[in-house]
């Protein structure tokens, strides 16, 4: 009998594992991915989804199975089995989640690093000139922001000023002011953000990026769009009555189209 239950346990865990993977690969809940770090994000999302699906389905199945299998039948009296604990089982389900959590933590650290999150922005970025990997979301505490956005000559510097209830973009090159964000495909954008009044947040769901825009503390967000198109910019921090209406667009153009747009709108001749 112990052999049979071992086989049953193994089979059901195997089915559960396959089911988890199948669900994670077939239930797609994310919007289009349109920036360099979006595919990396989606990879993390998928791994988390697999682990979560296995855990959730497994626990739910165990609870429902127990409720059905061990229900009190009509006319039945007496108690269940006198089982106060099982040290090896308890060690097992302390150790396994600990290992899973450790794995998830290290893996997400790796993802974070690949997105560029661990690169300190306070240092000179000359060593990263050729680094094609995207550097993402700086923030306060990251040191002098000027140097980070200007040193990297290949990146396109843009300034964002947020206010109740609009985003205003300023292109230092050409001195363009725009209510919509125009960026070219494939070039890193370095967005320096500051708020005039309350806290706002800059979020482009298709880029999988968000950074609060804070009054009195400039923040920085770097990203590289990979797909031409029109994507929403959403304010994600409660900023007042019209918070829900505080939206704009990011228009990702092919490089030639972007240059044309830049030329047409420049105040100075470029």
């Amino acid at each position: 009998m112990p052999k049979l239950s071992a086989i049953l346990t193994l089979t059901s865990s195997l089915i559960l594992g396959v089911l988890g993977v199948w669900i994670a690969y077939n239930v797609d809940m994310l919007p289009v991915s349109a920036s360099m770090n979006a595919p990396v994000y989606d990879e993390l999302y998928r791994v988390l989804f697999i682990i979560g699906a296995i855990l959730f389905i497994g626990m739910t199945a165990l609870v429902i199975y127990s409720l059905i299998q061990f229900r009190r039948r009509p006319g039945e009296t007496g108690d269940g089995i006198d089982l106060e604990g099982n040290i090896s089982l308890e060690i097992f389900w302390t150790a396994v989640p600990a290992i899973v959590v450790l794995f998830v933590g290290l893996y997400s650290y790796d993802i974070y690093d690949r997105m560029g999150g661990m690169q300190p922005l306070m240092h000179d970025h000359s060593g990263q000139m050729n680094n094609q990997a995207e550097r993402v979301w700086g923030g306060i505490g990251s040191g002098p922001i000027e140097s980070s956005s200007t040193k990297n000559s290949s990146s396109l510097p843009i300034e964002l000023t947020a206010m109740q209830f609009a985003f205003i973009f300023h292109y230092p090159k050409g001195d363009i002011i725009s209510g919509e964000l125009h960026v070219p495909v494939g070039r890193e954008v370095s967005l320096k953000m500051e708020s005039k009044d309350v806290i706002h947040a800059f979020w482009v769901p298709q880029f999988r990026l968000k950074q609060d825009v804070i009054p009195g503390q400039p923040t920085i967000l770097n990203f590289t769009p990979t797909k031409a198109g029109n994507f929403p910019i959403v304010c994600a921090e409660l900023c007042g009555p019209y918070h829900g209406g505080m939206r704009s667009n990011v228009i990702v153009d092919e490089p030639e189209d972007f240059d044309t747009w830049l030329k047409e709108n420049s105040k100075e001749s470029v």
């Binding site: 009190r72 950074q211 503390q217 959403v234």
Partner: protein
């Protein structure tokens, strides 16, 4: 200070009002105070629920067309504040804590009965004050988080009343916490060791430690915020050189532990309910105790995971990711232990059991999304979106509120001496479970696809999913009808419960229903094995019943 078990130390019985009037009095009886907390909390739940209904009605259409935008922000602020500070925290701590803890430690009342009554009577006035602010000059509009500078720039009257009322509620919570710690550690019946206490005592001890350590920080923060509003100081006002991020650190230093203040007592209550209705000992008592204390310690060092997009330095993001993810370990132990408690039992599928199992399923989902949210790269996309709304409603509604209902079904016979109708109870469970999942599960998708939280208007592509969510909310509202009917009907005409309808071993069942003032007619029973169920030794149950 009175630390004595002798009946003579509380006021003479004839001076206290009797009948239903005692529930409106400054009663010192812990059972009366517990029920005062429960009924008062439930009334606020109905108000907070109506506000949630208003939010879901507004979100049926993508335009802001049901109420003015300012009012919408007031409604969402009041909804959050009422549900947290006037419903879940007072009920899982104050109501069940006051009713049960003296029984569990073998005492005749709490350590400080007058402080206890003061703690309760702070709640109705501060709750009323909060709600009245809406009718006077408009309530606070900056969400229950009250982030400056928004909370400094929105109309001051509502925000100041909000601060005062949260300060009073925080004070009530601190009084309660001190009282629970003193009662559990100092009023135990001689011969009763800490490791023999029912699990709810451990949960309340851990929760009260969190309350006493973290609530004063919130109080200090809100006082500074009120200075910024009234006296135009510049603690958090950037235009006067203040720092808005400091507020967030201070606020979340309380408000993340606040989540554990809402769920740890619920963990304790489930640990009482499951063994009784599956007729088995609680699985793994010692690991349960250690995991509660582990959650308490870790819960104090994870606050900045609410601030991953606020512009925190990389090392801080890394530390708080790891600390947060590790909370899953002690929490996971508790869930595996509960399932193991069910395993091999003789389970009664009554309303108390169903709500507890519903809690397990909901909370596992909320916990999984919680571990995902702890990962910085994941959080940066879904932070401040409906994904987070779904996550925390799975924790606080799917978790704590399901446990509150489970506990009401379980202890109602003790409170009133009458049984609730089980069929109505099961109906209540089915509608609540379906409604809850219909309301909140689709919100995960909304958040992932681009709908931020706290908005009165949204991208029209999200309309269908929002409508499904609103239908779920309607079901949740309807589910309170069989519950209310069941309560009213059973108080008047319910079947007589007897002293111990569940055949339970914990001390509150070893007295009459409802219990007399001072809890037991004779000496307090000494229960050394609160979970001594199980077939092997059939004498145990019979001993417990005597």
């Amino acid at each position: 200070m009175t630390i004595s078990l002798k009946p003579s130390n509380s006021p003479p019985e004839k001076l206290q009002p009797t009948g239903w009037l005692k529930y409106l009095s400054f009663s010192l009886d812990h059972k009366v105070i517990g029920l005062q907390y429960l009924v008062c909390g439930f009334l606020f739940y109905l108000i907070g629920g109506s506000l949630a209904g208003a939010i879901r009605v507004e979100l049926i259409s993508p335009l802001s067309d049901f109420m003015p935008r300012e009012v919408y922000n007031q409604v969402l602020t009041l909804h959050g504040t009422i549900m947290i500070f006037l419903w879940i925290v007072p009920v899982v701590n104050g109501a069940f804590g006051n009713y049960l803890i003296p029984f569990y430690v073998g005492a005749r009342d709490m350590a400080f009965p007058r402080l206890n009554a003061v703690a309760f009577w702070l709640i109705p006035p501060s709750g009323l004050m909060l709600i009245t602010s809406y009718f006077i000059n408009g309530a606070a509009q900056s969400g229950w988080t009250a982030y400056p500078p928004l909370s400094i720039t929105t109309p001051a009257a509502g925000q100041i009343i909000w601060i005062l009322s949260v300060l009073l509620l925080g004070g009530s919570s601190i009084f309660g916490g001190i009282n629970f710690i003193a009662t559990i550690l100092k009023l135990r019946r001689p011969g009763l060791k800490l490791m023999q206490l029912p699990m709810y005592c451990w949960a309340m001890l851990g929760t009260s430690i969190l309350v006493v350590l973290s609530t004063p920080v919130l109080a200090g923060t809100l006082i500074l915020l009120s200075f910024d509003i009234v006296a135009h100081t510049g603690f958090f006002n950037p235009s006067l050189g203040g720092n808005v991020i400091v507020y967030q650190h201070l606020f979340w230093f309380y408000s993340h532990p606040a989540v554990y203040i809402m769920v740890l007592p619920a963990f304790g209550l489930v640990s009482e309910i499951l063994p009784i209705h599956s007729r088995k000992p609680l699985f793994g008592y010692i690991t349960m105790v250690f995991s509660i204390m582990g959650i308490v310690v870790l819960g104090l060092v994870v606050w900045a995971h609410h601030m991953f997009t606020s512009g925190t330095p990389p090392w801080m993001r890394l530390f708080f990711t790891i600390a947060t993810a590790f909370i899953a370990v002690p929490t996971g132990i508790k869930f595996f232990n509960w399932v193991a408690t069910l395993w091999g039992g003789k389970i009664s599928l009554n309303a108390a059991m169903l709500f507890s199992c519903g809690f397990i399923i909901n909370f596992v989902l909320g916990g999984i999304t919680g571990v995902a949210l702890a990962q910085v790269p994941f959080d940066v996309h879904v932070h401040d979106t409906y994904f987070v709304v779904a996550h925390f409603h799975y924790i606080v509604y799917g978790g704590s509120v399901f446990v509150i209902f489970s506990s009401i079904y379980h202890w109602f016979p003790k409170f009133t001496g009458r049984m609730l109708n089980e069929n109505l109870g099961r109906l209540h469970f089915v509608i609540t479970f379906i409604g809850f999942n219909l309301c909140f599960a689709p919100q995960h998708w909304l958040g992932l696809n681009g709908m931020p939280r706290r908005v009165a208007e949204y991208d029209p592509q999200f309309q269908l999913i929002n409508q499904i969510s609103s239908v779920g909310a309607l079901l949740m509202a309807l589910s309170t009808l069989p519950f209310l009917w069941n309560i009213l009907q059973s108080i008047l005409y319910g079947a007589e419960a007897g002293d111990n309808p569940w055949n339970a071993l914990t001390p509150e069942w070893l007295t009459s229903s409802p219990p007399p003032v001072e809890n037991w007619k004779g000496e307090a029973p000494l229960v050394l094995e609160p979970y001594g169920y199980g077939e092997k030794d059939s004498n145990k149950t019979q001993e417990g019943m005597k």
